[in-house]
């Protein structure tokens, strides 16, 4: 029993590998098909959630940094909750960036490489291989920027992954076999500790999403139903903000205790 999280520098290849791994393992797939459910649950437009996964905040798109973080937090909260079910192959939801320190979540990066990746891009966009390479490089730079802004993680840093496969060297059939084989390693099997870590992470994300709906600049940690929220506020607002956080977080299922740490917001203090 485990979770397999796959990401790639070419989405079509990612989807193809995910489909085959899920089929081979008999696992469910967790992907963007959940976006409509997430949107309904948090009463936001599905298109805005997809936009948040693809782009960084911009005045042109009328997407503020605060909205963007809220949309991402909604996705994160739902994905983590669904991952508690186990036996899933997850892709396309940026889970490789926020499912951290969970020993039974195996993170895989598939590098499309020149032969298959660029050919696929060139074919789909009707461009030359040279232009496809430029397009892919630009896309990778954009994803790096996005992942750092969204989760302070560089998705192009290969040391973050448990397994990295280059399709230039390993063909797709062998890639699927390698992934399914590696997922059988005992190291990636679920244990009481890793399930507890995932449960804590999911609860923190749920509280984070609830708080980001009405405020910015909050960090949340959870352990065994106890939640610690760190935020900033002016001396004048400190008490009110603490009460609001305790009230909102306290309503979340699974939260037993809320502690709020408020640092001084010097900008508002001097304003």
């Amino acid at each position: 029993m485990s979770i397999i999280i796959i990401s790639s520098d070419v989405r079509e290849i990612e989807e193809m590998i995910v489909g085959k791994v899920a089929e081979e393992k008999g696992y469910g797939r967790l992907d963007r098909r959940i976006i409509n459910d997430v949107a309904a649950r948090h009463q936001v437009e599905p298109g805005r959630l997809i936009e948040a996964l693809e782009t960084t905040p911009s005045l042109f798109r009328k997407l503020s940094s605060r909205q963007w973080r809220y949309y991402l937090s909604c996705i994160e909260a739902d994905v983590l909750e669904r991952l508690l079910a186990d036996n899933l192959v997850c892709w396309g939801l940026a889970a490789h960036l926020y499912v951290t320190d969970i020993s039974h979540a195996m993170k895989i990066r598939v590098l499309a490489g020149k032969s298959s990746g660029l050919a696929k891009i060139a074919e789909e966009r009707g461009i030359s291989l040279q232009r496809a390479e430029t397009y892919r490089d630009d896309e990778m730079a954009r994803r790096k920027k996005w992942s750092l802004a969204a989760f302070n993680q560089d998705e192009t840093d290969l040391s973050r992954y448990d397994l990295v496969i280059s399709l230039d060297q390993i063909d797709p059939v062998e890639t699927v076999r390698t992934i399914t084989g590696a997922s059988e390693y005992r190291k990636f099997q679920v244990m009481t500790y890793s399930m507890k870590c995932l449960t804590d992470l999911a609860l923190a994300a749920k509280v984070h999403a609830v708080l980001l709906k009405s405020m910015a600049d909050v960090k949340v940690q959870a352990r065994d139903g106890s939640v610690v929220v760190s935020t900033r506020a002016s001396t004048r607002q400190k008490r009110k903000k603490t009460e609001t956080i305790k009230a909102l977080a306290g309503q979340v299922d699974g939260v037993g205790y809320v502690e709020v740490h408020v640092k001084k917001n010097f900008l508002k203090e001097t304003a």
Partner: protein, 139 residues
């Protein structure tokens, strides 16, 4: 009548054994408690336990070494690691070496009973782990 589950419990903090032994007694386990890993290993050399529950970080010998010793001597025995210093790398190392389960302190005795019950099931000696709520085991 089915025989009791034989459990060796090793933690250099005396309070852990004091708290957990009665909790495991309640579900019908025969528990031997040790605070010194060398003494525990000497006992393991003498007797095949069904389950060994051991802390990881101990002065004279760590829990991973205890796990390896048990596996060499009694491959059937299930080993459960408990630690107050859990990290993903350590958890993966322990799983890779064949530990049955890994649990971070603090935990409730009920959490350990659940793991003991699933180890018992894997050994073909199912037990009923249901018991009233208990206090959390200190970190």
């Amino acid at each position: 009548m089915a025989r009791s589950l034989e459990v060796l419990l090793l933690d250099d903090e005396p309070i852990v054994g004091r708290r957990l032994k009665p909790a495991l007694d309640k579900i019908g386990c025969q528990v031997e408690v040790f605070e010194n890993p060398k003494e525990a290993v000497a006992r393991i050399d003498q007797k095949e336990f069904d389950i060994v529950v051991t802390d990881i970080r101990m002065e004279e010998m760590d829990g991973i070494a205890v796990l390896e010793h048990v596996q060499k001597k009694w491959p059937r025995t299930k080993v459960i690691l408990i630690t107050g210093y859990a990290k993903m790398d350590l958890a993966r190392e322990a799983m890779g070496k064949g530990v049955f389960d890994f649990i971070a302190k603090p935990f409730r005795p009920d959490d350990l009973r659940r793991i003991i019950a699933s180890a018992a099931e894997a050994l073909g000696m199912p037990i009923d782990a249901a018991s009233p709520n208990d206090e959390t085991v200190a970190e």
